[in-house]
């Protein structure tokens, strides 16, 4: 019986383990240094805010693993001997494998700022980060968050529930400018500000200053402004957690380089999830996709390959979601943040309620290519089908109520939407 070892018990590694168990009788070991059991990383914020206890973030009961013969092992793998198919843990333990799946996830991407090693400078990726944040929160009155993205707004919301003043340094002129077009960027920026967060646009971190005890005292921005604070939350993105694999025969770049079958350059070694980097980007996707859903999908795909059914990672239409304080965000297909040649926009914002839709379509063929939804829930299945069938933007708008996934009795909007669309078409004509 061959032994599959998976390093990393996040969504990618665990999905792979579950599917391998489903399709084979192989021995499966999942190794993690972070936690004993799989938990939902995206739910860490709710533990800090008191919505959940940590155990609630664990999607399976503890007995699940034994029942499904998935061995869980807590160990920190320090070294991999690819030739002899062996792993070495920090305490010197040796673990042999027949097939290895690397699903080591991400770490915070510190950008080399002066003072980034000072106490009170931290990211929010792991359970240990959460524990550190809890510790750093004592007597914390003012925090600076560097980076206006998903982790940044989560951190802001978390700290805000503990009555900590938060300033966010945002490089772009509006929130999450690398992903959101300016209309919704402004909508979300306003919403975040209404919750009492101090957003500093077009501001970047230059330096972090320590007090006599090597604690954060203040930061200095690139424009020379000094802001007093006791915590610096680093939310300028994440990078693959692969430092222990450098200087081995495994080919890496930003992440572990893999082909479409998620195979690395070494046979019987695969990489999935945040730590994997596609040799060639798939469509509009980034070579390194650090998203919950893509981690899961890679896990589903790699399990097939391991079980003798070589399968390419071939994701369908792009989708993602998030929540910014009280506004939910969903996206399907591609909505490019900056005006792109050959693509047109239709943006609709409700005048009374905080909700908006941003559509993009091909200017010539009118083919619908993507939508961002704010404060509105959309049916994944319907949007996915529309994207696959390449419906025209007009057809999409006309039957948009079919895609509505809002709760019962929610305020309807399709008539407003259609009216606004007609007007926009008249203006464009």
């Amino acid at each position: 019986m061959s032994h599959v070892v998976i390093i990393g018990n996040g969504i990618a590694g665990i999905t792979a383990a579950r599917h391998i168990r489903k399709f084979s009788d192989k021995q499966i070991t999942v190794i993690s240094a972070e936690t004993d059991y799989f938990f939902s990383r995206t739910a860490l914020m709710y533990v800090y805010m008191g919505h959940l206890k940590f155990e609630h973030t664990q999607p399976y009961e503890n007995r699940f693993w034994k029942k499904n013969r998935i061995d869980l092992k807590q160990a920190y793998i320090e070294e991999v001997d690819f030739k002899n198919k062996k792993l070495f843990s920090a305490v010197g333990e040796e673990i042999a494998y027949d097939q290895l799946i690397l699903a080591t996830g991400s770490v915070t991407n510190f950008r080399g700022w002066k003072g980034q090693e000072i106490d009170g400078v931290q990211g929010l990726v792991s359970k240990q980060d959460l524990e550190l944040l809890e510790k750093n929160s004592t007597n914390l009155t003012h925090a600076v968050i560097v980076g206006g993205g998903l982790i940044g707004v989560e951190l802001a919301e978390m700290l805000h529930t503990r009555k900590i003043e938060v300033s966010m340094l945002v490089r772009e002129p509006h929130f999450w400018g690398s992903v959101l077009p300016k209309e919704e960027g402004k909508l979300i920026s306003k919403h975040i500000q209404q919750h009492g967060i101090n957003l500093l646009f077009e501001t970047e971190l230059d330096e972090i200053i320590a007090d006599a005890n090597n604690q954060v005292k203040a930061i200095i921005t690139k424009s020379g402004q000094q802001i007093e604070c006791q915590l610096v939350g680093v939310a300028t993105g994440v990078k693959p957690n692969i430092s222990f694999l450098k200087n081995t025969e495994l080919e890496t770049d930003k992440g572990i380089l893999v082909n479409r079958n998620l195979e690395t350059n070494i046979s019987d070694v695969y990489a999935i999830g945040d730590c994997a980097q596609q040799r060639e980007a798939i469509g509009n996707r980034k070579p390194v996709e650090a998203v919950w859903y893509t981690g899961r999908m890679m896990g589903e795909a790699v399990a097939q390959s391991i079980c003798g059914n070589p399968t390419a990672y071939h994701p369908g239409n792009w989708f993602n979601s998030a929540k910014f304080f009280d506004i939910e965000y969903q996206t399907y297909g591609w909505v490019f943040p900056k005006q792109k040649e050959g693509f047109s926009d239709f943006y609709w914002e409700d005048e009374k309620n905080e909700r908006a839709l941003h559509f993009q379509y091909k200017t010539d063929s009118k083919e619908f290519v993507g939508v961002n939804a704010f404060g509105i829930r959309l049916r994944h299945e319907i949007l996915d089908a529309w994207l696959t069938e390449k419906l025209s933007i007009k057809e999409v708008i006309q039957q948009f109520s079919k895609a509505n996934f809002d709760k019962e009795f929610s305020k309807k909007f399709s008539r407003q939407l259609q009216k606004a669309f007609q007007q926009s078409q008249l203006q464009n004509a």
């Binding site: 739910a43 709710y46 004592t138 503990r162 900590i164 589903e300 989708f319 049916r379 996915d384």
Partner: protein, 529 residues
């Protein structure tokens, strides 16, 4: 620690302290309770109308003001900050104290009402008599311990309903549902029965009847004194009796088919009403483990069997007393019961067999054989129906299920086991509606493709202890008999994954191994296995 203490407000600490305003309103509410407590210990208030109004008024101001200070100045949205830090909502000291207090109240109410001022031979005193002014105004009669309880119960649903609406004001579904619960409690459970009592006289002897309280939840509805009351009240009485029968056999199946059991459990029912309003802060305490689910299924269905046996025995026991009055005789009645049970059993086994788990099938067969066996033995050998005296069954049920389970445990343990212990483990009505919801209804909670992030908010805040996430992360719709349709899972979901809806019964249950968003070929390959 060398770090400077910046202020005394303990910033950075988990939010568990009450604000100044919250303390003020707690104090005001407590003053109102103090009046009730003093009355309980027989302090004679000179002007009962005034003091009752003051007491209930300050309780209202306390709760509503407290809600305002919690939610009034905050933007609308999910308000679960600090739920697991506050002792009252995370089984801390306050939870235990509060739980013990309510439990004691129920024990006294059910078993020692004399301490509340109920006097068998003389006029009532104590707490009960304080409610006399209101009782006279409504029904024209002096207050009983049940009137006092009904008033406090209705008041709780109203004021905590306001709190709930404030908390979930961003959701039309929650607002409308809560208004419905508040309305049905106030009108149907409280005011209408009192007014009906006022109409009673020579020609009208209606029993106290909360029209929305349907058998088997009101297990006593077909007891002899009530049937006599209905039959002695002319057309109205007959209409009410017929209504009582068709509400469980006709109205309930139709509504549950169309809307799921939520039409009753979280929109109409009084037990559900209290659980959803006053009990809302405790919803996260329900047990989500699979073992709890197993216990739940056996216990709640056993209660259904118990109430069926008990009611059959009770009706049977008085049927032949007066052949002229009751056209229904003992034999016809038992035959009808056996026929109905056989039909339901045969339907489920023939048409829904694949949806029943193995142990559910065994349980159903076992219970069916026992009931029909008992009926047969009785029919052919004439032994005691169901081996016990009907009266013994009735008093046992009333004590164990009607009082201890639904009241003492059901409400008293809110702060420890969550707000739906009774509805989940004990209520036979919920079990019958759930049976139907699971097997014959358009209702489901739809899961949105591949959007679930397994965060656990839905499971944690499910008051019925359903592991919602287990379904959502499989892309599977939630079709569970216990779901009362409160809608909170869909509220707390941060990614828009859940939607309560009534849709065609086709494709209601749809397990998937590979979720939407991945390779279409892989999805087809794996999901068809």
């Amino acid at each position: 620690m060398s770090r400077v203490q910046y202020n005394m407000a303990l910033s950075g600490q988990p939010p568990q302290e009450l604000s100044v305003w919250q303390k003020v309103f707690v104090f005001i509410g407590m003053l109102g309770l103090l009046v009730l407590l003093l009355a309980t210990f027989n302090y004679q208030f000179p002007n009962k109308t005034l003091w009752l109004s003051l007491s209930l008024g300050s309780i209202c101001i306390g709760v509503i003001g407290f809600s305002w200070s919690l939610y009034g100045d905050k933007p609308s949205g999910i308000k679960n900050d600090g739920v697991w830090f506050k002792p009252l909502t995370s089984r801390g000291l306050w939870a235990w104290l509060f739980g013990i207090f309510i439990t004691l109240f129920y024990v006294v109410l059910y078993f020692f009402p004399q301490y509340l001022g109920l006097n068998a031979d003389a006029e009532n005193t104590g707490l009960i008599v304080l409610f006399d002014p209101l009782s006279y105004a409504l029904s024209g009669n002096p207050a009983s311990q049940w009137f006092m309880y009904g008033t406090l119960y209705t008041l709780s649903i109203l004021i905590f309903g306001i709190k709930f609406i404030w908390k979930y004001r961003h959701s039309q579904y929650e607002v409308i549902r809560t208004l419905s619960v508040m309305f049905f409690q106030t009108a149907f459970a409280f005011i209408i029965p009192e007014l009906m009592a006022r109409l009673n006289g020579e020609s009208l002897q209606l029993p106290y009847y909360d029209l929305k309280n349907i058998w088997p939840l009101n297990y006593y509805n077909f007891e002899q004194y009530r049937i006599d009351g209905f039959l002695n009240s002319g057309t109205i009485g007959m209409a009410l009796l017929i209504f009582g029968v068709i509400s469980i056999f006709v109205i309930t199946p139709i509504l549950t088919y169309k809307y799921g059991k939520r039409w009753y459990c979280s929109w109409v029912c009084g037990c559900g009403g209290l659980a959803e309003t006053a009990g809302d802060p405790f919803r996260q305490l329900s047990d989500k483990r699979q073992i709890a689910w197993k216990v739940e299924r056996w216990v709640v269905h056993s209660v259904v069997v118990f109430v069926t046996l008990m009611t059959t025995a009770v009706i049977y026991s008085y049927l032949d007393y007066d052949a002229a009055k009751y056209w229904l005789n003992k034999d016809i009645f038992l035959g009808l019961v056996a026929l109905l049970l056989t039909l339901v059993f045969a339907w489920a086994m023939l048409f829904r067999r694949e949806e029943l788990q193995k142990d559910a099938q065994y349980g159903a067969i076992g219970y069916f054989v026992i009931i029909i066996g008992l009926l047969t033995i009785h029919f052919f050998w004439g032994s005691q129906l169901f081996l016990f005296q009907a009266e013994t069954l009735r008093t046992t049920y009333a004590f164990l299920i009607g009082s201890v389970f639904s009241g003492v445990i059901g409400v008293g343990f809110y702060p420890i086991f969550g707000n739906r212990v009774w509805c989940r483990f004990g209520c036979p009505m919920a079990a019958i509606l759930g049976f139907q919801q699971r097997l014959f209804s358009k209702f489901r909670i739809t899961t949105n493709g591949g959007q679930c992030i397994s965060c656990g908010n839905c499971s944690t805040y499910c008051e019925m202890g359903i592991d919602v996430r287990a379904y959502a992360q499989k892309g599977q719709n939630i079709v569970r008999s216990s779901c009362v349709g409160c809608g909170i899972c869909a509220e707390v979901c941060p990614r828009g994954v859940l939607k309560l809806e009534n849709d065609s019964p086709e494709g209601r249950i749809n397990p998937k191994d590979v979720l939407l968003g991945n390779d279409v070929d892989l999805m087809n390959y794996v999901n068809q296995k």
